[in-house]
Symmetry: C2
Subunit: 527 residues, 2 copies
Amino acid sequence: MKIGGKLMNKYDKLVTNAAGRIVPTEINGHAAIPYLGVGKHRPTGRKAAPLISSCIDYPGDGNKTLASLKEALIKSGLKDGMTISTHHHFRNGDLVANQIFDIASELGVKNLVWFPSASFPCHESLIKYLEDGTIHHIEGSMNGALGKFTTLGKMKGLGVLRSHGGRYQAVQDGEVHIDIAVIAAPTADPFGNANGVDGPAACGLLGFALADSQYADKVIVVTDHLVAFPCIPWQIHGNLVDYVVVLDKIGIPEKIISGTTEVTKSPDRLLLAEWSAQFCDEAGIIRDGFSFQAGAGGTALSIGIYFAEILRKRGWKARFARGGSNKYLVSMLEDGLTEYILDGQTFDLDGVRSMRENPRHINTSPFTSYNYHGKGNFASLVDVAILGATEVDLNFNANVVTHSDGYLLHGIGGWQNCLFSKCTILPIPLFRDRIPVIRDNVTTICGPGELIDVIVTERGIAINPLRKDLIEKLKNSSLPIKTIQELKTEAEQICGIPEKPKLSEEIVAVIKWVDGTIIDAVRKVIV
Amino acid sequence: MKIGGKLMNKYDKLVTNAAGRIVPTEINGHAAIPYLGVGKHRPTGRKAAPLISSCIDYPGDGNKTLASLKEALIKSGLKDGMTISTHHHFRNGDLVANQIFDIASELGVKNLVWFPSASFPCHESLIKYLEDGTIHHIEGSMNGALGKFTTLGKMKGLGVLRSHGGRYQAVQDGEVHIDIAVIAAPTADPFGNANGVDGPAACGLLGFALADSQYADKVIVVTDHLVAFPCIPWQIHGNLVDYVVVLDKIGIPEKIISGTTEVTKSPDRLLLAEWSAQFCDEAGIIRDGFSFQAGAGGTALSIGIYFAEILRKRGWKARFARGGSNKYLVSMLEDGLTEYILDGQTFDLDGVRSMRENPRHINTSPFTSYNYHGKGNFASLVDVAILGATEVDLNFNANVVTHSDGYLLHGIGGWQNCLFSKCTILPIPLFRDRIPVIRDNVTTICGPGELIDVIVTERGIAINPLRKDLIEKLKNSSLPIKTIQELKTEAEQICGIPEKPKLSEEIVAVIKWVDGTIIDAVRKVIV
């Protein structure tokens, strides 16, 4: 039984995938491939082929500006059932996405698919459009209220969550066809060249909108800082842009720069950071010319600082550090402790400034860094990636989107993509709010255990048995190396065995793997 | 009658196009569209869709190096009938293209199509492969000996000449499918990221190879300067590259940097330059924030110097200057007389250095600058373009590929694309070797007269009657404004009426317009 494209309680198209999860073979009316295992799905066919444009249809003087976003959407042919994309470089300070759907509602357009690179609490007001049918469903991470709305089974279509690389892959491969891309750009010229490094709403870069600019039928650039041609650098090519709209304000600067931007002060978190860094050192990962990616959380920031100390002490430097950049990473660059920052997202104003000014602070995109359907990508070249997780199971499978109560509260981000680094370490607390993090089974599998090498907790470190090399290297370590079963038992001795979440069989969202297959499904929470 | 894909003397598929030229409707076995007029051909359909790749098939550590070009060509599946592309950033110092066909010959591969962005005298040795069937035909400019070979009707297939923008358009639109692209890169990393600004064979940029990297089935990067990942900047994305090969030497530096790099000393040429600059000034084209493109010839360089003097005197600056860059343009940038150089090709070492070091010296490509099947391009945003020509007719139609004796001796380069500037000026001598340049009909039409605004000769200046605005602005000028008929008559009074070239009806090559249609055909020269 299928209503509005969503699989309901009576499943006629479900299958158990290679991760042992029951997943649908159809999503919102389109066939889907169940996860086959890491590196097992070989794509066939050709990339999406955008319509051929012609200079005949664009102003010879290069001036593509229109008076309003409404006019641009109408000229772009906005109509029922279209897929509209936005990007999340403004994070919780975005002032553009909501306006698009206000206009769509005003025009009486229905059943849109919203395809953001991520959604944030500032988009909560879109719930009314999900309820009244202006938006049929969201494909993209649904943080906060939108995630809760989805997990309660209220969205008309199935949610589809992808990693940053998976989003590029889906657009490139034609799994998602974007009818209209709206790219909010801190600086642009009338031709549509655009960047994120200049202007009052500077966010650093626009990499998450790259696929949208390349593959959407119509591309609208929205800016509050119009400069004369040429806008330099052009992170988005005007040659791919149809219309340019100037608004008073496209983002709230103080909310654009967010995330945890201070190192942790929690003794437990500091211990995780110290042990993670020590582990990397003893495993021989830290060396002159190594590379690493650590996120923007307090623990990850602290690990970066330990790395920097080790490098400084030994007169070494990293060849490159992957960003999300912040002031700590920028210091490493400026102090000569890393040759380059390869950055996908700037997390603070130091990151923005550095990307603007420092030719060694390099703008990357999901295409260069994460697209699994390219001729390789950067993620697998990184020596060590430090990531988070909400849950891990005894086979090292990990969850990053749902909490143990079943609620879908986080996006995947680049997490799945980063698992392909040469060593993936998850420094996580053994329990959160007295809920153990290591489980028999994770609520939602986002990453297969074979790609997760090390779990660092405040009560010990578990190395994936598949990584015999790491086990060998650490065999005489002073670090508290344990099995993951030991860690789980320890947590349960303290907190008790956790209750399972109360979930219906109804599927409300699916989790895509980096190759476009379905690795898991998210069930409706019973309240 | 058709032999080996080439139309022979008995034509069964010819048509008169909108330029009044008789052109074939089929080229090397593929249907072709005759020229319909400027802005009259609206493309339909979708861009070429490359095969979807997967990281499964590429080394996780990013090391794509192979031991030899031969191994890379074999792994790329080199076989009969394939299209092999190369670029011409090394100009007459290229050491790679010939090697490809030496290997093909050694392997007994036949009927290849060579698709260079341009060919040079250094490629003369490929004539033996055109003769023995290793290469079926060349699509790309054929300078010097290859051009002569072609014009004598010796090439098995039809030559196809395209502008830089037309080449991008043809690849993007799937008119030319590249099986294997070989990109010789002055610097590269093992992942295939590559640039032209560093290394012993530094040529500045690699824009002519961009389409090849994006659309070819297999992409081989060949370098003599391998650096650790990441190669910064990556003008070519490693994510599009299959194999990397290191050779001892890919180019001869002193021949890479070529072209006329000194201002003219000829009094006649200096006069052309002075009058051209004065014309621009009186027409109001030179203003604070204007933009211009002048080529690398001695006259064009001199015009740039006049522009610089005017700007300096008035305290103005150009918003941007289009390169081909050279030391004169770099001085303008460094002296603050232009805010940016938007550069498609560096013509000397100062250009290379400036592109490497100056963030205002911007790397462009045929995609950004010239592709007519984009959502606009840069060429039409330029206030004035100064170009050359071998012949001009009374309707301002111009020729840039053949000489008046019928020999095909030049490529189109960006010439056709630049005609879309707001004002196109051709400063040309009234006669060369006592052969008048203004003709009743040009030997080969490369550019329609409606896009050519002004002809500047040493005996007077003709303004296209379509440009009533320019005629009005110059009506009180001290410049010797004449009609083009007057200039033609004057030349013929001096040199006599020129003889027509002795041409057979046999077509040996075709000239594409920027939209992929056929604007003219080149006939075999009777010797």
